[in-house]
């Protein structure tokens, strides 16, 4: 281990004395405070902070990734190219210890830089409301909607339930002889499934829609939970207002007729405009002790209209599940895990590639990470025709690529004050750790077999 550490220290020192590291550091040190002043967003203080965080974290993540790629590709390949490796591998150090040491050196550099820059961003973010003398309502809003970490609950559509529902209606149709032969079974089933899905999120006059959630863990039961919704109506009244009653709480108490209510059920009669996002709050103690929460919408018969909640953005429950600091730390740790991944990638590639080629490959991986969703989409599309090959060759390769976009866009979580859930966090970190380990093991194997003194021209 002392040998790994010696190599790590050496590669860290080399990186620190390399001009690139200094340039990147200076760039960030200059750019971050400037960003904090120049970010405007939508003009509100919240918008300003959001755009600062977005650019600040994005820039830090981007620049440190590039730096990591350069340094990790350089540290081993330069030793090989300039032959300092001759006096290193002939010492009693195993080749995998050398690889590990090199990676660790880069990781040390990342740790230091990320610590410095994420602290700067954090401090500047906290300072921004103070500097602009934000007060009153705006400050409350900022605290509720930005300096927090809210978990979001969205209806989880159970495909199984929908499938059985559709099957049932299909049999019904069969029995009553309403099926005509001109349409295939597949097409009919598809339609029936759509209907089933639709019916789960729609209420006829006097009907109800119910959403149930498990594992809801509000940070503090004195907080509020936020119900956010948007609906459409089959018949829109002239004033566009729809009447309904919302019930939030432990619905099982009603369903199974318990003697005494353990948790309150809140009722909120409302009148809302169709097709616009609405939000109301109820106290968080509506959540049952075991984390169960149900939200029910009752469609007043007087509306005389079927109410439909669109599948995409029709319904969401938000609640405070953590604080800003913790969320920020998690975001930083995920960025760190990505940097570790790139360190492993660069070192692993330079066990058999020269510096320029290794950098090119790493950058390619980085940018595919940025558009990962797009790549997976297009491969999945191609994959329909070459399914076996896709499943066993392409899919594992794509899995090995990192993901930075869509659900994995870390700064988006901070901007939206969305909690980086423990499960998501753990899976992301573990995934990156496994990927890094795979890359390193590949590096060990290649490097152990490599003829070090062989000149590659």
């Amino acid at each position: 281990m002392s040998r790994v550490w010696a190599v790590a220290k050496n590669s860290f020192v080399s990186a620190m004395r390399m001009k690139t590291a200094i340039v990147f550091m200076l760039l960030l040190i200059i750019l971050l405070p400037i960003l904090s002043i120049t970010s405007t967003g939508d003009g509100t203080i919240k918008g300003r902070i959001q755009s600062f965080i977005s650019y600040g974290l994005g820039l830090t993540g981007f620049l440190l990734s590039i730096l990591t790629i350069i340094v990790s590709c350089y540290t081993l390949s330069s030793d090989i190219k300039h032959k300092q490796i001759y006096t290193v591998v002939t010492k009693p150090i195993r080749r995998f210890e050398l690889i590990l040491g090199k990676t660790l050196g880069v990781v040390l550099l990342d740790t230091l830089l990320l610590l410095v820059f994420s602290s700067i961003i954090y401090a500047l973010t906290l300072q921004m409301p103070r500097l602009t003398k934000t007060k009153g309502d705006e400050l409350v809003r900022l605290n509720n909607e930005f300096f927090t970490a809210r978990a979001s609950l969205k209806p989880d559509i159970d495909e199984q339930v929908i499938e059985t529902k559709a099957q049932k209606s299909y049999k019904e149709l069969q029995r009553s002889g309403q099926l005509n032969d001109s349409r295939s079974k597949q097409a009919v089933m598809q339609e029936l499934k759509d209907i089933a899905r639709y019916s789960m999120h729609s209420a006829e006059p006097g009907g109800m829609v119910i959403w149930e959630f498990k594992n809801v863990k509000p940070f503090d039961s004195n907080d509020n939970i936020f119900v956010r919704f948007k609906f459409e109506a089959s018949r829109i009244p002239p004033d566009k207002n729809i009447y309904g009653v919302w019930y939030v709480g432990d619905y099982r108490q009603i369903k199974y007729g318990q003697e005494k209510m353990k948790t309150p059920i809140y009722a909120a009669p409302r009148k809302d405009v169709v097709k616009t996002v609405q939000e109301f709050q109820v106290p968080a103690n509506a959540v049952a002790a075991d984390g169960y929460l149900a939200v029910v919408f009752y469609n007043e018969p007087m509306n005389d209209s079927t109410i439909i909640f669109p599948q995409e953005d029709g319904f969401e429950v938000l609640y405070r599940a953590g604080n800003f600091g913790l969320n920020f730390v998690r975001a930083t740790l995920i960025i760190f895990a990505r940097l570790v991944f790139f360190a492993a990638l660069g070192v692993s590639l330079s066990t058999w590639l020269g510096f320029p080629v290794a950098v090119m490959c790493s950058l390619a991986v980085f940018f595919t990470g940025v558009i990962n969703g797009f790549i997976i989409g297009s491969f999945a599309y191609l994959g329909e025709n070459v399914s076996l090959f896709y499943k066993y060759a392409v899919e594992p390769m794509i899995w090995l690529l990192p993901k930075f976009d869509q659900g994995c866009n870390i700064s988006k979580y901070i901007i939206d004050a969305k909690l980086i859930g423990t499960a998501f966090f753990a899976v992301t970190i573990a995934g990156l750790a496994v990927k890094s380990a795979i890359l390193l093991v590949a590096g060990f194997i290649i490097f152990a077999r490599r003829e070090i003194a062989k000149v590659i021209v």
Binding site: S2, R3, W5, A6, V7, K9, N10, V13, S14, R17, H82, K83, Q84, I85, Y86, T87, V88, V89, T90, K91, P92, I93, R94, E451, I452, A453, K454
Partner: protein, 407 residues
């Protein structure tokens, strides 16, 4: 260490290295069927012209290159095994060091690769820096060192683990005469302490002085191997070495020898390994033994170079000899391996007529075999002949020597 190998520090069995390019073409036989045996506590010299495979052998022993065929046993095991490499000190051909570390950090780094604790490291580093004469420069980055200074750090690095086996690739290259002397003394001293040393060199005088046993390589093949005395012993001659004798004593000896029917010749003892070495190489060349090294084309190049050099020198010192004459002479002599004695003679004598000390530095201090450069290009030669280019080189060299003096 396994018992049956106990007596040999290094043993190779038909060790062969063939370099092929990416497509497997243009094969270079760098080492051919080498069966090397180096006994414990022996100082073994691998001698040979450039490109004869010395470095390749050492690299294979250390696991930096994989043999194409055969195998090598180092200290009874595999040179790549950490248990074995913990007992080896290695000085590569050039001192490949980290330019951003200073001398102390460098040695500390190598020390920790051996797993030495910081107390041991510190005391050894102090001792080694002192030994190689760089104690005063311990905190200067290696990047600012001259070649010879870096070489000294390289040597210190090879000794930090107090190795049992020392593998030195051209240990004296780039060193000033004092450094060279120190290394030779060091090798003798280490041998006295029971270490085994394998060194490669083309500096014959150096090897002759320190080696117990040498192998002369050409084209990857061992041409001759034996102890230095054994190789240089001539069966048909007897050498009597005494202090300087009076004329009377000499006359008496002559009479005795002539009475016995022998031939008598008096001369001071001379470098012997050198002429022996040249003999071997010439024989190998005459036998058209292939080499991947630089020798084949060197005959012409070498003579041309010598001619060109003296040509420029002539111009520099405004000597009277016509340059064209020189060239002709050189061409006549191309068959010889050794540069024309005349030219060499002039080269070494002329400086004495010159007042400038600059040129005196050009005088070869060791009578080493001149074919040193691998295939010098024609236009480069022409460049050399141009007085301007050469003056610059001389100036540079002068600066360097001045630097060295200042150190």
């Amino acid at each position: 260490m396994t018992e049956n190998n106990g007596q040999f520090a290094i043993e190779t069995f038909s060790l062969t290295k063939i370099f092929a390019d990416w497509w497997g073409r243009s094969r270079v036989v760098a080492v051919d069927n080498l069966n090397l045996k180096v006994r414990n506590n022996q100082v073994f010299g691998l001698l040979g012209p450039n490109g004869s495979g010395k470095t390749t052998i050492l690299k294979m022993l250390l696991g930096l290159l994989h043999p194409t065929r055969g195998r090598a046993v180092v200290l009874g095991g595999d040179g790549k095994d950490p248990k074995i490499s913990a007992q080896i000190g290695f000085l590569p051909e050039e001192s490949y060091l980290y330019s951003y570390l200073n001398a102390r950090e460098t040695l500390d780094f190598y020390g920790s690769l051996f797993g030495l604790n910081s107390r041991v490291r510190k005391s050894r580093i102090d001792a080694l820096l002192d030994m190689v004469g760089l104690a005063g420069m311990a905190n200067r980055p290696i990047g600012t060192f001259s070649k010879g200074m870096a070489r000294r750090i390289g040597l210190a690095q090879a000794l930090i683990n107090d190795p049992k086996l020392l593998i030195l690739d051209e240990p004296t290259s780039g060193l000033d005469p004092i450094g060279t002397r120190q290394i030779k003394d060091l090798i003798v001293e280490l041998a006295r302490r029971g270490k085994t040393i394998l060194l490669s060199s083309h500096l014959l005088a150096d090897a002759e002085e320190v080696c117990d046993r040498v192998a002369i390589l050409y084209g990857g093949l061992v041409q001759r191997e034996g102890s230095v005395e054994e190789l240089l012993e001539r069966k048909d001659k007897t050498q009597i070495t005494t202090n300087i004798l009076t004329d009377r004593a000499m006359e008496q000896i002559r009479r005795i020898v002539e009475k016995d029917g022998g031939e008598f010749e008096v001369k001071p003892p001379m470098q012997k390994l050198e002429s022996f070495f040249i003999d071997i190489v010439r024989q190998a060349q005459q036998a058209k033994r292939p080499t991947s090294g630089a020798m084949n084309r060197l005959e012409a190049t070498d003579a041309e170079r010598a001619a060109a050099m003296s040509n420029v020198l002539d111009k520099l010192v405004a000597a009277k000899i016509e340059p064209s004459e020189k060239t002709e002479q050189a061409e006549v002599e191309t068959v010889k391996i050794r540069p024309d004695d005349d030219i060499l003679g002039k080269l070494t004598q002329e400086p004495q007529q010159i007042t400038e000390p600059v040129v005196r530095e050009k005088k070869p201090e060791t009578p080493e075999l001149p074919p040193q450069q691998d295939g010098i290009k024609k236009d480069l030669l022409n460049e050399l002949v141009k007085p301007k280019g050469f003056t610059e080189r001389i100036k540079k060299k002068d600066k360097k020597t001045e630097e060295k003096k200042n150190e």
